[in-house]
């Protein structure tokens, strides 16, 4: 991956929440969520804007044109215009991040890198305390729920010491006092027990360990880094909401 710009010096990754953003990110939903989680866990925030080369590549091809989403009209796909659009988006995200991080009193940094999202996992950035991705294809922001309603969180490979802290950090943000942890069927029972026991001590946690088929409607997916790239791809392609990767 090429690091195009480093706007601010990177902080120590162990105290950092890294949020992966791109041209399809929702400012108020995605960045806000990351900032609030970081504030609750007292982490620094690192925003990473990923410019996927494939996009620019496609724009450079002579045979391609763009079909606009809102109107269905067609226009030439210009690499220069696309580049400009990406830069504008990157700048907008940076400004938003800077403003709201300062309001919350959070230290922050921002970088623009080129590469695939999944490639982020092979960089030192993946060693952040928390790493957040967002669904791409059909994006859904972290929804609000009323008190008493359940919030569905899918736990995949929850073997992380940080898990209880993350859950606790999520509670005030979620707007709901009840979190239902759905456990992916593939988790081994002993591991499951090790994960769930500390969680069960948390107030207002409703643990549903009944294995269930994987769905797409979870408010949040918590996981440790899958070992296989394909699993990652599937996860990110499937997810509608945020995906948090725990160390």
């Amino acid at each position: 991956m090429t690091q195009m710009t480093a706007k601010h010096p990177a902080h120590s990754d162990s105290e950092t929440l890294t949020v992966a953003l791109d041209a399809f990110s929702n400012l108020s939903a995605d960045v806000d969520l990351a900032l609030r989680i970081a504030a609750n866990l007292r982490l620094r925030v690192r925003g990473v804007f990923i410019e996927e080369p494939s996009l620019l590549q496609a724009a450079a091809l002579p045979c391609t044109s763009e079909i606009m989403t809102n109107s269905g009209t067609e226009r030439d796909l210009s690499a220069a215009r696309l580049q400009q659009s990406l830069r504008s988006t990157a700048q907008r995200i940076e400004t938003y991040l800077a403003t709201h991080a300062q309001q919350l009193g959070l230290a922050w940094s921002y970088e623009v890198i080129q590469g695939e999202r999944l490639g982020l996992l092979q960089t030192p950035l993946s060693e952040s305390r928390l790493l957040m991705f967002f669904g791409r294809v059909h994006h859904r922001p972290f929804p609000r729920r009323s008190a008493g309603a359940l919030r569905d969180i899918l736990l995949i490979n929850g073997d992380s010491a940080r898990l209880p802290q993350v859950i606790e950090a999520l509670t005030p943000i979620s707007g709901s006092h009840r979190l239902r942890i759905n456990v992916l069927e593939k988790m081994p029972a002993r591991e499951l027990h090790a994960v769930l026991t500390p969680l069960s001590r948390l107030p207002s946690i409703d643990i549903d360990a009944t294995p269930e088929p994987l769905k797409t409607h979870y408010d949040l997916i918590l996981t440790t880094a899958p070992k296989k790239q394909d699993d990652w791809r599937k996860l990110l392609d499937m997810a509608r909401g945020p995906v948090m990767v725990l160390p």
């Binding site: 045979c63 269905g72 294809v137 059909h138």
Partner: protein, 813 residues
Amino acid sequence: MPETPALPVAALYHNVDLAGLSFETTADLEPLTSPLGQERALEAIEFGVDIQREGFNLFVMGPNGLGKHRLVKDILEQRAAAEPAPQDWCYINNFDDPQRPSVLKLPAGTGRKLRQDMRQFVEELLTALPASFQNEEYTTRHQEIIDSFNEAQEQAFAQLDQEAQAQGVAVVRTPGGYTLAPIKEDKLLTPEEFEKLPDEEKARIQKVIDTLRVKLRDLVRSLPVLQRENARKIKELQREVTQLTVDQLIAWLEDRYTDFPDVIAYLDRVKQDVIENAQSFMPADGNIEPETAHRRVEEYHEYAINVLVDNSHTQGAPIVYENNPTYMNLTGRVEHIAQMGTLLTDFTLIKAGALHRANGGYLILDAHKVLSNVYAWEGLKRALAAHELKIESLEQVLSLVSTLSLEPESVPLNVKVVLMGEPLLYYLLRSYDPEFGSLFKVEADFSEVAPRDDVNLQLYAQLIASFQQQSQLKPLEKAAVARVIEHASRLAEDGEKVSLHLETLNDLLREADYWAAKQNQRLIRTQDVDQAIEKRIFRSDRIRELVHEQIIRDIQVIATTGEKAGQINGLSVLQLGNFSFGRPSRITATARLGNGKVIDIEREARLGGKIYSKGIMIMAAYLASRYAADGPLPLAATLVFEQSYGRVDGDSATAAELCVLLSALANLPLNQSLAVTGSMNQQGEIQAIGGVNEKIEGFFDICQAKGLNGQQGVIIPSSNQVHLMLRQDVRDAVAAGQFHVYTATVVDDVMEQLCGLPRGTPDAQGRYPEDSFNGRLQRRIDTLRSLHRKYAREAHADLDTPQEQITHDADDS
């Protein structure tokens, strides 16, 4: 000199016979339970209140102080207590046309209950509706719709992508939409790789892209349709959830008000509106806070109930007295709130007027105040004629503005209006307002006086006892009661009547009580009543003192002794507030040969009022008809009120004016020890005048100050004898022969008394004896006629005869 007997002392004052009062003090008496002397008014009020027909509103007329308000209120309260309390009137939002709020009629007390229930309903909505949109069932179903849409979208794109990939092309998402790009082994070709492709391959790829682009475009263009359908489903879901929630919440309201179809219809409309505007109940930040729902209820005033008239505490029919009957205070108003430089309003700012509050009952108004307020009278009439109350601003009624404002639905009106006012107002309205008679068919005419007969004497004593007990005054002894009644006759200006001015009576009693307390008395005595009367007069007496001082010091010249021709003492009354007093005025006359004209100087100087002028004309007509019926009256006379510089009106000096004119004509000296008052007609009959007691006392005061000589007195019309209620000191002087009161029926009676000559009896030729004043008048007129003929002849001769003839005649003489 002819002797006309003076009135005896007994005729100068109508005493109350103590034997006719069967009590010792007012403590022995029961209070009066029915009004005294107001039978006509009482019957009219009872009739007007009882009859339930259109237009039978009441006008209660009489001066202030007669107890009109008290009587009307007592009658209304008695009647209203037996009538049911009227309904509550409310304004509610008209969801179809908020500018025209609707009226809701409910049983007494139900309005405020409904208002409270609606508040509670909205408060529950504020918690329940957001919760229903955040519960698991809704979010699940909502998500299912979205997922279904997303899946359909994904499937379409996946299908296209699959088709594309099968031909070596991929669908790629861009920030603005989508594009198609060639791939190889799941990776996009770089531009360099693409360039290296054979032309055929490039052409094939281009063709595939072109074909797929059309499909992609069609797919993207179909998305809005899908989104619309998606939105419709979500809206339907929201509607369903809202309906369910609202139905559950409103069910208890529908149960509670099941007997009120209008309320049920309203609740149905509320339901529809809530469903259509469910989003307005969602908190902006998504946080549902039940504890703030109570405060937030105020924001949803479209579901509020404006209880315009709340009769929950009304016992019987309402009786409303509007003390400030402006147009708005009567018919209601729409208030506005200033916000950000504009004026805002809605149905919750509609305020009731007095007519609303009195609806179903009675409204008491002061006629003068209603007429004094701009458009209040018109507004009142309009409401009564239409039997409904329409709330409009005055600006709208008068078409002064055309800004948008509320047009509330009219409220049906069923009210009985009781107007109170002076008789003059009633008669003016009756004469000049064509609508008045149709709307106020019942007049209740309060009497100012009542006959002073035995029955009323007892009742009046009870009336005094009522005031004494109500105001917790000392009891009055019998003689004091008698004195009060006599004073009431004085106020009525009639010894055979008593005044019904209750306020004045009450004031007298309270003042007498005060003076009795000053003397540490247990009872109110006659002298306390006398003192109250005297002190009251003293407080108002300053101007009279000044006027009398002017006369006594001869600054204003009035003779009270001797004789003089062409001069007489007339009498007038001055009214200052609620105090009046009499004073003499010198009237003089001159008479000479002339053309028959009597010149009234007051009239010529435009100081004479119309009634005064009428009196002069009557007098002149009498003079001519009596003394010049068969021939001319070659007289030029003038009359004037000496040292009078203000306006003169009334005809009470007509008799005096005739007498002084006759005196001047015949050079007959008139007795200056006497004063004369009396109106007269063309027949020479003396007619009654007003203020007879004040006039007599006024002359008496001057004579007493200058020194009574036993000759002084006043000549009054005989028809005024019944009105005499003279002061004690005047009666004492009459009893001592120091002052006299004479009566006269015809002018000749007055002239005899004044000039000391008999009137005489005419012979067959109509000639009066020489030693009568009529005879002397006749001779004087004869002389004037001769002179007139002589000068007329001479004047005629001057015209016909040449100059030397005139000289010759002159030498001959």
